[in-house]
């Protein structure tokens, strides 16, 4: 039996390494190609479509005014942009702060609406209410803590205009504005940079696969109408809607120059709650979409489902098993120094254990390499401090993923067994 576990772990880690190698090769191709083509900021936006920017905000008095000011200052024709900020069940000064901003001389002529709502459905419910009032051909979503760069929306639309029939949505990049705050935010920053500059680019370059990240993206209004709006039962509404878009034969394109800053959790408790919600939401999405693997869905959707299912189920189980084997063998070897007769339950024929170590070492190496490729692509981030954090984070920050995944899975099972309604945690903001 132990032989089976070992071989399962080795083969699973190989597949994880292969996935990492393929995605990284795609990312390198993308990065080299992008490096050759100069950045062109759109100047003539006469033929650009109208856009409704929706900002759902639940008790966001700390950040909301700054976010909306960034949106009001976007480089996009004022007559083509409508801004709807949804003060969703707010019990603080979110709506008040928005009214103060709206009354400023500079913004009085802008198409800027504050929607105070008390309905249900969380972020999805707020977006669904706002889309009823939206007049734009495209919808643009920013979270309440976002700080988009001046040309972010222009870059998103510029990408959409390349293939307006094929691209159902376009997403940009999000950066951690509080990345230097502490070790946790430094690690989150590395994860964010790597996901966006290696995983997103690699998947887009090789397979034209993209996933909406929840903020800093645009989507066709008509497409959202066709889908029936955001799923109010989904915990990760962004991933859920991504699959809906792909199912309709539309692509989710990457606009790498469209950048926005966001705030990341600064405390472990806040981070764990946020990530558990994401993991649980992604489990739901995988379960809801696993049928695509066995029906006539396109290869792109199958690959997308497989990518998520492998990351959240398969590789997670393989890493847990290999960790148990690894730690058990170390513990037994230490005990054997004092009690030579003791034998580990994981004794293997030949040198298979050595190859598990080699596979693990390759996975660790490519993990560090991916982060450092991403850091090199983000000006100013490739420094010694980040390199050290990238080396250390595998043994610290990344192991949290296992705890989070197991807890989210347990919570999901409990929800199913006891028919519990999933609770939606709002991520806490920091001054």
């Amino acid at each position: 039996m132990s032989d089976f576990f070992l071989i399962f772990s080795v083969i699973s880690i190989w597949i994880a390494v292969l996935e990492a190698i393929v995605i990284m090769a795609g990312a390198i191709k993308f990065i080299f190609r992008q490096n050759r083509s100069p950045l062109t900021i759109p100047e003539n936006m006469d033929n650009y479509p109208t856009v409704s920017v929706l900002v759902p905000a639940h008790n966001e008095e700390i950040v909301i005014a700054s976010t909306v000011e960034h949106i009001l200052q976007l480089n996009y024709p004022a007559d083509k942009i409508q801004i709807i900020v949804i003060a969703d069940n707010c019990t603080d000064r979110t709506a008040h702060n928005l009214k103060v901003l709206k009354n400023k001389e500079a913004y009085r002529d802008r198409d800027f609406m504050i929607l105070e709502r008390t309905g249900k459905g969380g972020k999805s419910g707020a977006l669904n209410d706002a889309r009823q009032l939206a007049t734009g051909e495209w919808l643009c979503i920013y979270d309440a803590d976002a700080a988009p760069e001046r040309n972010a929306l222009a870059f998103l639309v510029q990408k959409a205009m390349e293939e307006p029939e094929l691209y159902g949505a376009v997403f940009g990049r999000n950066k951690a504005r509080n990345r230097s705050q502490n070790f946790l935010t430094q690690c989150i920053n590395l994860e964010l940079v790597t996901v966006q500059r290696v995983h997103h680019t690699g998947l887009w370059e090789l397979f034209k696969i993209g996933t909406i990240p929840g903020t800093n993206f645009i989507v066709k209004s008509a497409l959202i109408q066709e889908i029936g709006g955001w799923d109010e039962e989904a915990i990760t509404e962004d991933t859920a809607i991504s699959f809906e878009i792909l199912t309709r034969g539309q692509l989710i394109a990457l606009a790498p120059q469209a950048e926005a800053y966001q705030q990341e959790p600064e405390r472990l408790g806040v981070y764990m709650r946020q990530r558990e919600r994401w993991s649980k939401g992604n489990y739901h999405v995988i379960i809801d979409n696993i049928h695509h693997l066995f029906n006539r869905s396109s290869w792109r959707i199958k690959l997308h489902v497989l990518y998520y299912a492998a990351s959240y189920f398969w590789f997670m189980i393989a890493i847990i098993i290999s960790d148990i084997i690894f730690i058990t063998n170390i513990v037994y070897q230490i005990i054997a120094l004092f009690v030579p007769s003791i034998v580990s339950p994981f004794i293997f024929g030949g040198d298979i254990f050595v190859f598990l170590m080699i596979a693990w070492a390759l996975m660790y190496y490519i993990y560090v390499l991916q982060i450092n490729l991403a850091l090199a692509a983000d000006i100013g981030q490739s420094n010694i401090r980040n390199f050290i954090v990238s080396v250390v984070s595998y043994f610290t920050y990344s192991q949290l993923f296992l705890v989070i995944s197991v807890r989210a899975f347990y919570s999901l099972i409990m929800d199913k067994l006891f028919r519990r309604k999933t609770k939606w945690y709002k991520t806490e903001r920091f001054d």
């Binding site: 190698i21 293997f348 298979i352 390499l369 090199a376």
Partner: protein
């Protein structure tokens, strides 16, 4: 004990291919990093 010779051979082949791929990716990463540093002239004093 079961004979895993076939698996050992597979391990050697796969590990060798992956090692080669990782070396190539490392070279590309370092080349890219050097190009970025040269392009943005980082680390040199402003004259």
């Amino acid at each position: 004990m079961i004979d895993y010779q076939w698996f050992i051979i597979l391990c050697i082949i796969v590990s060798s291919i992956f090692t080669l791929a990782v070396i190539i990716l490392t070279i590309f990463t370092l080349v890219f990093r050097v190009r970025v540093i040269e392009k943005y002239d980082r680390g040199k004093p402003n004259v």
